[in-house]
Amino acid sequence: MAKITIDGKEYTVSDGITVVQAAAEVGITIPHYCYHPALRAPGNCRMCLIELTLPGRPGPERQLAIGCGTRVADGMVVSNTAPRVKAARAMTLEFLLIHHPLDCPTCDQAGECHLQDYTYEFGNDRSRYVEAKQTPPRKQVGPHIDLFTTRCVVCTRCVRFCEEITGTSELGLIHRGGHNEIDVYPGRPLDNKLSGNVADICPVGALVSRDFLYRSRPWFLKKVNSVCPGCSKGCNTTVEFRDNEIVRIKPRYHADVNDFWMCDDGRYGYHYANDPNRLKSPMIRDGESLVPTGWNTVFEAIAAKIAELGGENVAILASAFNTNEELRAIGRLAMEAVGTKHVGLISQPITSEDTVYPKFVIEKDKNPNRAGGLAILGDVPTDEDAWALLDGAKGAVVFGGIPGLELSEQVLARLEALACLVVVDILPSALTERADIVAPGTAFTEKEGCFTSSQKRVQRLNRALPPLGRSLDEWTFVCEVARAMGREFGYLSVGEITDDIASSVEAFSGAGDSAIGSRGYVLGSGEPAPETMTGNDAYAAKYWD
């Protein structure tokens, strides 16, 4: 730990961090544009200038130093409010704004724009600039990203991101001096799998995500912390929604999982949750068509069917998109109520390899909770083997919720052969076409509960939107089915199931509801991951969330 003085007050901060991070640790803002803790600091925006007194020196240095390129040292004295510091920041802002179009009314970044924030805080209220503004053209730099070049402050965060994190270097600077522009190399669009992040790290409205463009003002958005269901990595995300619609997903900092980033598949893969064709009501087959009905009818019908076919002849297939808590309820349903040994776990099959970037890996397993499923249900058959359980079964309860799941002819034939098929899913699919009873479930944005990542890290999803229409949480559905069959599980909330898992599944010991904090719980670690507010965590909390 290093003792430094900022604006006359002494603080103790972590060793070896930059002054910007140290200030964030103690809750002080040092404005900056080009600095990002995950990237090297070029010190080119000149916004974070501070007055520095080095240990053992009589007074402040003649030159202002950059807070992003200066590492803290014991006894360092930093002034964040000296008149010349304020003057330097006002000057920097004036220079940044002379060519800026001031099109905040139509700019996506408005409301979460550092240029706006810092201008209010440090800038002048008028411009002295009367010369011609530069108006470089708007460009489509990649499949997901547009560049409003006029708004760009040439901080080069995006260029460094593509050099250091993805190693693909699509973005670069062209021209020189006042004509500097970010651009892609001809014929090489910004199409790597992490391209969406450049819109996040852009401190102004220059790089925008075309998916989000003009869809909402950020201040209308409500936000909840969630976990990406796109693969087994378990990237921490923020789900932002408005008017019962998911508007965008942004990564949330986690040092041990995804840093500040997430991949485009996860970022733009939420649209199925907004699909107008989502199942909204429970349905029972009447001849050719599925007819909407009430939940009680459905529970009774399922209980009756299982009793009729005999519990041991019913296969229950959970999905790797179910949360730990849903899986626990499903497991108990199979064991205690239905009494079947035919339990399997269906998922997106693993067909590809990990996509490896220098500082980010997208995992090949495109299911968020395979690890949780295998830990909670026991070592059950998966994928092909799970579907094979239908061969000896007369009926099946299949939990879907897997977007874009493709079923082979063989599986479809097995489904056709069943006397009764109960499907819990969120979208019409080949499964629901063949179902006798359809129960609408929840998408990941409507779930409460936890996913277990491939690294055995249990992380919590929070509910953004209520279940759509008359949909039910899967765990509620399961409890009600069990009740119809005469079994009370007695769960009243998700947290109770979380605690139940912690006490009854050995691998999950310690991972109770209260132990799973914002950084998750690593199974087998024996203690909750610490809620740290140092270094990058402090930075992320201050400038990122």
Partner: protein, 468 residues
């Protein structure tokens, strides 16, 4: 007034036919330092250069020996980058060294590398140097063939490789870290300092960056000894600590250009006055009077006729709130419009800014645009203050601070502020008359009592150049 004389050391025999070849160079005493240099232990060699008072000839005037002591000599490999990217407007002395005496540079490189234990040297040539680069390359090949470079330099067992690299014509690649970036194959954009190149430079290894003229001085220091070298130039006492090193030894290649009868490079001991140097160049053309003199390449603040008694060395020009810089003396006579002259410079700087940091990227074109409006007569009262203010925001002339990554900011700001302040009446006349107006000499210049850099603080002279 005695006839001023040159003191040719580096430029000795410069015009001997074929001096750029090894044989002719040797015939005129070349490579004599190789006999002596390897007998001096590296540490003693560094001390020798430090004691000689040699200061960097590239512009900043930093003590060369001091720079060498700051080198991290624990890390291998270390590199030498010879800065031959002579881009400062008004400067053209290195080109003649490369064209006519490339072997002298190689000799200097060997001396520097021996002192610092460097086995790889790069010469970063300005992109426009075609003949110079050709001759330097040929000289390096000759030196390899003669065993002067390679596995064992002149049989000493000391290995040294020299490579040349051509820039692509960017002024900013003459800044040492911009040069390093460019040499690494990136955009030529200066790095933040610290870390200084002496700690982390080329390929993140300790690197010494030296100007051609600085390196060319080294063989003569080795050959002729400390006292001989220290006997040239000017030395002062009573210099305020803020003005830095009072020692200005050796000679300087002054590139005199502009409205003089005989422009060219004059090698004189450091400290000749501006007036004497103009006289040496046979005076101003057509018997006109001097209106402005830029003393150190276009980045240096301009001098008015009142300041022509200023000795052209690092210390005195520093006290005059200007700088010797690269020694490019640009003389303008009374027919010159100082606003146009400034506009010319600002066009250059706006074009050459690398654009990575905000103040310079936005500020330099802004200063250019304001100057352009004044020159065209479209400006309004208050624009001169704005010009000075914007320039001071890039780099503050009065406090000698800059908000930019590199000193390009100062290089833009100094000429802009000094022109606007020292020739304020002419700037005002442009605004008042709504067109380009060249005032008579006496009226065009800000009166000395209002000149911010006048009078100079008086210091005691211990040693004066002997040029008469």
């Amino acid at each position: 007034m005695a006839e001023a004389k040159e003191r040719r050391i580096l430029y000795e025999n410069l015009d001997v036919p074929g001096i750029h070849t090894l044989d002719v160079y040797r015939k005129h005493g070349g490579y004599a330092s190789l006999e002596k240099v390897f007998a001096i232990p590296p540490d003693d060699h560094i001390t020798l250069v430090k004691d000689s008072g040699l200061r960097g000839r590239g512009g900043a005037g930093f003590s060369t020996g001091m720079k060498w002591t700051l080198m991290n000599r624990q890390i291998e490999p270390r590199y030498l980058c010879c800065n031959a990217d002579e881009s400062e407007p008004g400067t053209f002395s290195n080109r003649y060294i490369l064209q006519n005496k490339p072997h002298m540079l190689i000799e200097g490189i060997i001396a520097c590398c021996w002192a610092l234990g460097i086995h790889t040297a790069y010469v970063y040539c300005r992109g426009e140097f075609t003949l110079a680069k050709k001759r330097l390359d040929a000289a390096i090949l000759e030196a390899y063939a003669a065993g002067i470079l390679g596995e064992s330099v002149a049989g000493s067992g000391f290995a040294l490789d020299v490579y040349t690299h051509s820039g692509a014509g960017a002024y900013i690649c003459g800044e040492e870290t911009g040069l390093i970036e460019s040499l690494e194959g990136k955009r030529g954009q200066p790095r933040n300092k610290p870390p200084f190149p002496a700690v982390q430079g080329l390929f993140m290894k300790p690197t010494c960056v030296q100007n051609v003229e600085t390196l060319s001085n080294l063989p003569f220091i080795v050959n002729n000894g400390l006292d001989w070298y220290k006997g040239m130039g000017s030395v002062y006492t009573d210099v305020p600590r803020t003005a830095g090193d009072p020692v200005n030894t050796g000679t300087k290649l002054y590139c005199v250009s502009g409205h003089v009868e005989k422009p060219g490079v004059y090698e004189v001991e450091l400290g000749i006055t501006a007036q004497d140097l103009i006289d040496m160049a046979s005076g101003v053309r057509g018997g006109n009077r001097v209106k402005a003199v830029i003393p150190g390449g276009s980045s240096a603040p301009v001098l008015t006729p009142y300041e022509l008694d200023c000795p052209l060395d690092f210390t005195s020009l520093g006290l005059a709130k200007s700088m010797l810089g690269s020694g490019g003396i640009i003389v303008m006579d009374e027919t010159v419009c100082t606003v146009s002259a400034l506009l010319n410079l600002m066009e250059f700087y706006a074009h050459e800014s690398c654009g990575q940091c905000t103040p310079c990227r936005s500020g330099t074109p802004w200063v250019r645009d304001i100057t352009k409006r004044i020159e065209a007569g479209h400006a309004k009262p208050g624009d001169i203050e704005q010009l000075i203010d914007v320039a001071n925001q890039i780099a503050n002339v009065d406090t000698f601070t800059w908000n930019t990554i590199c000193v390009f900011g100062i290089a833009v700001s100094w000429p802009a502020v000094s022109f606007a302040r020292k020739f304020r009446p002419e700037f005002e006349a442009h605004i008042l008359n709504g067109e380009c107006t060249v005032l008579p000499l006496e009226e065009a210049i800000t009166p000395p009592e209002q000149n911010y850099a006048y009078p100079r603080p008086q210091v005691t002279v211990v040693q004066q150049p002997k040029w008469h």
